[in-house]
Point group: C2
Chain length 289, copies 2
């Protein structure tokens, strides 16, 4: 690609962030402040994110256009990570670069009574992107092997069975034309503490805080273990996990923008050919007053 | 407001664009290229739109934050207008300035079989914004008195009864905390012809065109009449109609951004007070490793 010197190196971000399949993961071994593959420094990173974001928006339009003509492909970005890791910030800054018409965003909270009456994938199936759309999950079905495991919200055997069910589900999505981009936003406990304290210090951030966040933080080791298991068991060829170092917000936004861009480039959606006679339509239009 | 000289004049945009209630409307009397209330020229308009868009995004965050603390208020932008009048462009350029997490966008197409089995407002109720959200309807329940009237998709008496049903429905929304901002994007037939021809000329725009657009355009006078009736009968104190001249895209985006800003300023949403003891939480956090 002679037009974008350096892009060769950057095209490999998927490979740099992709977690191995079926191997034990030690999250403590990953530096949350790292910036693998990024341009040199924050300013260059911000500029490159904006540039990539514009390319991404153009490809999104093609995906959408193709979807209007029968191309059933779509993309699903799954965001997981500890509190304050930046799932909401990713939606605001990365997805905010796209045309909102083509985005289907779902933030999963504690399941409602109705949702609890169904299997854990029921509510997830109802929130999937349709043809041509980019779906975004802020939390997801992975909560059912994360908080469910740590907080004992289901019997251990039941939680244990869910990894396989998730893999089956994600395989069926992939076979149905869904490109899965699963991102684990990896922050350090120190950075989380800083961010929580900031929420307490700033009146315009109080609303993002609840005292539960402190109880959750006390369970940090149990959550890391639950994540390690989920990342090990559910990193598959058809639905890989990407570990995104997230202590630096600019890097997180840059990396996820690039990951989306790389995947959409590979999909290479095309504007559909017109299914009608252009010249005849032009003539009929010109005849009208 | 000494901080924003000139804003006094501009605060009045709502009043400038608001259609009278219960009066006969003659759409031919409104210039689609007009730019009422706008800054002087396109460049100034674009800059002012960006500035207003940033303010709008800040107010949107407050609305959302208030919604997490029991404030049930929300806003619903209804976009109506002839083909190519810029409903989709408004979502892209105006709503694209907001945090997509807080936006609930629904584009209404021809009703599905399931939707046709219910009353015409059924699908609309299911797409309403929730507390703290900004809802956007690209087309709406008004199609049921527009294309339904022009194309005889329902008996005349049935269409006739819908104006009152719409008013009752919108009144109930307003009483339930929904601020309705209904915008009619007013374009001229000449501008529509130009835009349709452009869709035929550009391969990246073919997908936006169907030969049906030509048949629809041939019914221009019938559609204008149907719009005039709807605007006359459904402009109410609790759900006014705004006529937005839309031949100039920059003006359309500027005006709708300003209308939303004026309405959100009036709502004046506030960050909620914390429902917990800040000092105690800070202490507990600092004690954690």
């Amino acid at each position: 690609m002679p037009k974008h010197p350096g892009s060769q190196r950057r095209e490999a971000l998927r490979e740099q962030l992709r977690l191995p399949e079926g191997e034990r993961i030690d999250l403590a071994g990953y530096d949350a402040r790292a910036t693998p593959g990024a341009p040199d420094g924050k300013q260059a990173g911000l500029a490159d994110t904006a540039r990539s974001g514009r390319r991404l928006a153009r490809l999104q339009e093609r995906l959408w256009a193709a979807g209007t003509a029968g191309d059933r492909r779509r993309l699903l970005l799954v965001l997981q990570g500890m509190d304050t890791s930046g799932k909401g910030g990713t939606v605001k800054h990365v997805i905010g670069q796209l045309n909102p018409s083509g985005c289907r965003i779902k933030a999963f909270k504690a399941p409602t009574e109705e949702e609890r009456r169904h299997d854990f994938l029921w509510r997830v199936r109802r929130a999937l992107p349709e043809a041509g759309e980019i779906g975004i999950f802020d939390r997801s079905h992975y909560e059912d092997v994360l908080i469910a495991r740590v907080r004992h919200l289901a019997r251990p055997a039941e939680v244990g069975s869910r990894y396989g069910l998730i893999n089956d589900f994600e395989r069926s999505l992939a076979e149905d034309g869904v490109t899965l981009v699963k991102c684990f936003l990896h922050i350090s406990p120190e950075e989380q503490k800083r961010r929580l304290l900031r929420r307490l210090d700033r009146p315009d951030k109080h609303w993002k805080f609840t005292p539960d966040d402190i109880e959750e933080r006390a369970l940090w080791p149990a959550y890391q273990e639950a994540y390690e298991l989920a990342l090990e068991r559910c990193a598959t060829p058809y639905a890989p996990w990407y570990l995104v170092p997230a202590d630096r917000k600019w890097y997180r936004n840059w990396a996820i923008t690039r990951l989306l861009l790389e995947h959409l480039r590979e999909l290479d959606p095309r504007y559909p050919e017109p299914g009608f006679d252009l010249a005849e339509c032009r003539e009929r239009l010109l005849e009208q007053p």
